[in-house]
């Protein structure tokens, strides 16, 4: 696979020099110092590495960076704008929807993918959509509550 020299990450072009067969996750973490996406399993089972690719949540540990092209990559680092947290981030804080926090970035990115597709998802829809993201600390109930809360805030146009 050819070398990758540029990526579109978090709203800007980033220069990289990476073998195309490397995963997007490793290039984000090792080359661009974006360590919000995490390694959890390397087989797309846990969702800790979730980023948005053109708005859709993907497992960056599974995606060769050579196949990204100029599609837009969004990582958890992009959500806070000028010191202002995204409603999802606020809701995760409000509901204490994490313990160790290792899954949190991936959870929020998956949830963002969902809310961009469905403005006010039902609880079963949330459970289904989020099912590929693991929280080993087991605070799923809080995460569901946080997503519902954020959906309300976002639909209400508060932000």
């Amino acid at each position: 696979m050819a070398k990758v020299t540029s990526l579109h990450v978090n709203g800007a072009d980033a220069s990289v020099d990476a073998e195309g067969e490397r995963t997007l996750l490793s290039v984000l973490r090792e080359d661009l110092n974006l360590t919000g996406p995490k390694y959890g399993c390397g087989e797309g089972q846990c969702g800790a590495c979730t980023v948005l690719l053109d708005g859709a949540p993907i497992r960056s540990c599974q995606l060769p960076v050579g196949s990204v092209g100029q599609r837009k990559v969004l990582t958890i680092e992009s959500l806070e704008q000028n010191g202002q947290l995204h409603p999802l981030q606020e809701a995760f804080l409000k509901h204490d929807a994490f313990q160790c926090g290792y899954c949190t970035g991936g959870m929020i990115m998956s949830a963002l993918g969902l809310l961009q597709k469905r403005k006010s998802p039902s609880e079963p829809e949330i459970l289904r959509f989020m099912n590929d993201n693991l929280c080993r600390c087991g605070v799923y109930q809080r995460i569901v509550a946080a997503i519902r809360d954020a959906a309300k805030t976002m639909a209400g146009g508060e932000k």
Partner: protein, 722 residues
């Protein structure tokens, strides 16, 4: 109250060796050099020896040496910042928050004015490790005492400042107010220009919770913002200039010996360092993929003898069990009393049953990871761990270094659940870094974490009981093989009882896991209690209440049953309710569940779960609820479907695609009832809430189907047919 060095380790903490007797000694001038002037309060492990600075326990002629046996310390700087130093580690249980609350309470200071330095072997005093639910009953108390001593010292300074007596002073919001209209004075103003050292004993009675203002409230996670923004740097996120990425070539099976090795291809790869040292083979490379390629290019041949497989596990454990009188055999943990023979004679009903528990893995979402850096003969390692000082000791042993030349730093870690007590990744990263002459990061793959970490012990439990028509238990005999003694004591009123834990030979590496063997022992006991109730056609709640005397156990049981609506809940074919109760590490739990269980289709789903929990005075209600919810959810995996499978020295399911852990789809409606006992000192709460879910689910499945499942996991492939 136990000091660090007097902790009695449970027999099933197989991974722990004797803790190092490393004493912390630091020159007191060093404090102020590092931290700047101000006030320092040391928390002593020994008896009270309160003293003023510059006097008392100087133990050498060098002057300025502070007492050696220190548990924690606190510094209030000339800028008013309160910095607290403790060797405990944050692994998601939110002790950074609860310990901060304890300090804030005593100092009447805002949460934001307090900073905790945790789990850093150069900055924090020795700590045996963050396990055993010890942080809240021990470290929180020590920090309270330390902060209280600091408050007293500040009041002394304030009395001099206002030229008044202490009784007229008032503390609020991190300031001290004098009488009348004088401006309040801040901590920083008081400590300016000071170099005061005080010390205080960390043991003694707890401070009553009735007057708490900051403790006892739901303070949000201290650095929560760093987690939702992705800013928090776990050990696996640390990046150093010139850092390489490591990869280890693992043996083909457990107990394998290296027969032949060819590293020539890997060694020719640009930028790659290959290290072969005994059975250890590893590489370091400029990026993780190159490291993986280099490791794959190494040809290693291993030989291993035949080893047991999961299909024969329980026979193997029984065959290799140590019996009473042998070392490790028949450790009596309960109050053995009376005569089982007599008890059985007095019984009108007798039951015998065997329960089994599979090996399971912790699966912390952050696998073992470490970054190691050598500077001359000094080693610095960042790693995720529950035992920073244990890791330091492993490193010292591995490299023949003095412990003062090793610095272990543990950033808030991506979970542990008892699984991160050992320093494998730290030692491996340090070996590779030394060979490469550059810093090395090593992140274990998920498969490595499954295979080469340690597992929760598998276990086999024989229970034999006798009871009367009226439901009085006359005999109780309980033998656990291999999983351990935690939670083995029978809390029911039984005149004739014998409870023993027997060691065995484990085919796999095993060690601590959240709540240790209390999960296995509660599963067997609470299932068996239900079997007894069923034999008598008695309601399981009534049967338990009839035989339980402990008021705290009765209360949690009643609270859970009430919140669940036990009396109104009707089990019917396909839908059942079950409950379980237990006590461990001074905290009390009852769990009630409702399950959907269809024998035809095999479908099993926990619809609803209620846990009532009493761990004494509640420090942070919201975080405590989160622990109880999370433990229940995690325990659901071991209850229903988690099991490590193995064959001849290899795991056959060391991947998340093959090893199922609880997901959103498994989420029941969870309700947590906290019994806040302000009159009882707070116990730890990270472990006990996991012990009730498995037996409660097993009992609910029985209520719905009349299937009595006696093996954890209960339904790895759905309910068994028939």
């Amino acid at each position: 109250m136990m000091d660090n060095d007097e902790v009695e380790l449970e027999s099933e903490r197989y991974e722990l060796f004797e803790p190092p007797r490393c004493r912390f000694a630091v020159d007191r001038r060093q404090f102020f050099k590092t931290l700047g002037g101000g006030l320092v309060v040391l928390c002593l492990a020994g008896p009270a020896l309160a003293q003023e600075s510059g006097q008392g326990r100087r133990r050498s002629g060098r002057g300025g040496e502070v007492p050696a046996d220190i548990n924690a310390w606190l510094h209030i700087g000339e800028d008013g910042v309160v910095t607290v130093f403790t060797g405990k580690a944050e692994v998601g249980q939110n002790i950074r928050t609860s310990l901060t609350q304890a300090v804030a309470e005593e100092l009447s200071a805002p949460i934001a004015a307090i900073r905790l330095i945790m789990a850093d072997t150069q900055l924090t005093p020795f700590d045996i490790g963050t396990f055993g639910s010890m942080t809240t009953p021990q470290m929180a108390l020590r920090l309270r005492k330390t902060a209280a001593a600091a408050r007293e010292a500040l009041l002394d300074l304030a009395a001099a400042h206002f030229k008044t007596d202490r009784a007229s002073l008032r503390l609020a919001d991190g300031k001290i107010f004098g009488s009348g209209s004088a401006e309040p004075v801040s901590f920083g103003q008081l400590t300016k220009g000071q170099k005061l050292v005080k010390s205080v004993a960390g043991d003694g009675a707890a401070i009553p919770a009735a007057d708490w203002k900051i403790a006892g409230t739901s303070v949000p996670k201290i650095n929560g913002r760093d987690f939702v923004t992705g800013k928090h740097q776990y050990a696996s996120d640390i990046h150093l200039p010139g850092m390489l990425h490591g990869r280890v070539v693992r043996p083909s099976a457990f107990q394998a010996a290296l027969e032949s090795l060819d590293t020539s291809v890997a060694e020719k790869m640009p930028g790659v360092t290959v290290l072969h040292d005994g059975n250890f083979i590893g590489v370091a490379a400029p990026d993780a993929l190159t490291a993986e390629h280099a490791a794959n290019a190494i040809r290693a041949k291993w030989t291993a003898g035949p080893q047991p497989s999961s299909s024969e596990l329980f026979d193997y454990l029984r065959k290799n069990a140590r019996q009473e009188g042998e070392r490790g055999g028949g450790r009596g943990e309960g109050e053995d009393s009376g005569s089982i023979e007599e008890g059985l004679k007095a019984a009108s009903h007798k039951l015998q049953a065997t329960y089994t528990i599979a090996y399971i893995a912790h699966v912390p979402l952050e696998p073992r990871a470490a970054v190691a850096q050598w500077q001359e003969d000094k080693l610095t390692v960042w790693t995720g761990s529950q035992r920073p000082f244990g890791v330091r000791s492993e490193l010292a042993q591995a490299f023949g270094l003095a412990e003062e030349n090793i610095h272990v730093i543990v950033p808030d870690t991506g979970a542990g659940y008892g699984g991160k007590h050992t320093g494998e990744a730290a030692v491996e990263a340090a070996r590779l870094a030394r060979a490469a002459g550059r810093p090395v990061k090593l992140v274990w793959t998920r498969q490595e974490e499954f295979t080469w970490a340690y597992l929760r012990p598998a276990g086999l439990i024989d229970v034999s009981s006798g009871f009367t028509d009226e439901g009085a238990i006359t005999a109780w005999e309980f033998h656990n093989y291999n999983s351990g003694a935690s939670g083995i004591r029978c809390p029911y009123q039984v005149a004739n009882q014998k409870c023993q834990a027997h060691g065995s030979r484990s085919p796999l590496r095993q060690g601590s896991y959240r709540a240790l063997a209390a999960t296995a022992n509660h599963f067997a006991r609470e299932s068996h209690i239900d079997e007894m109730a069923a034999a008598l056609k008695m309601d399981p709640l009534d049967f338990r209440l009839k035989n339980l005397r402990d008021p705290r156990l009765r209360e949690v049981l009643q609270a859970a049953a009430d919140a669940f609506g036990w009396r109104a809940a009707k089990s019917e074919a396909g839908r059942g309710a079950g409950l379980a109760v237990g006590v461990e590490k001074n905290s009390y739990l009852a769990t009630c569940v409702e399950v959907l269980a269809d024998k035809e289709s095999g479908v099993i789903k926990v619809l609803r779960a209620v846990s009532a929990f009493d761990c004494g005075a509640v420090v942070n209600p919201n975080h405590l609820k989160s622990q109880v919810e999370g433990a229940l959810m995690m325990g659901l995996g071991g209850a229903l479907f988690e099991a490590i499978e193995f064959e001849n020295g290899k795991l056959t399911n060391p991947r998340l695609s093959d090893y199922r852990v609880p997901r959103f789809a498994d989420l029941p409606k969870i309700q947590v009832v906290l019994l806040d006992r302000k009159d009882i000192p707070s116990a730890g709460a990270g472990e006990t809430p996991i012990i009730g879910i498995a037996p409660a689910v097993a009992n609910a499945i029985f209520a719905a189907t009349h299937l009595r499942l006696r093996s954890m996991p209960l339904a790895p492939e759905g309910l068994p047919n028939g």
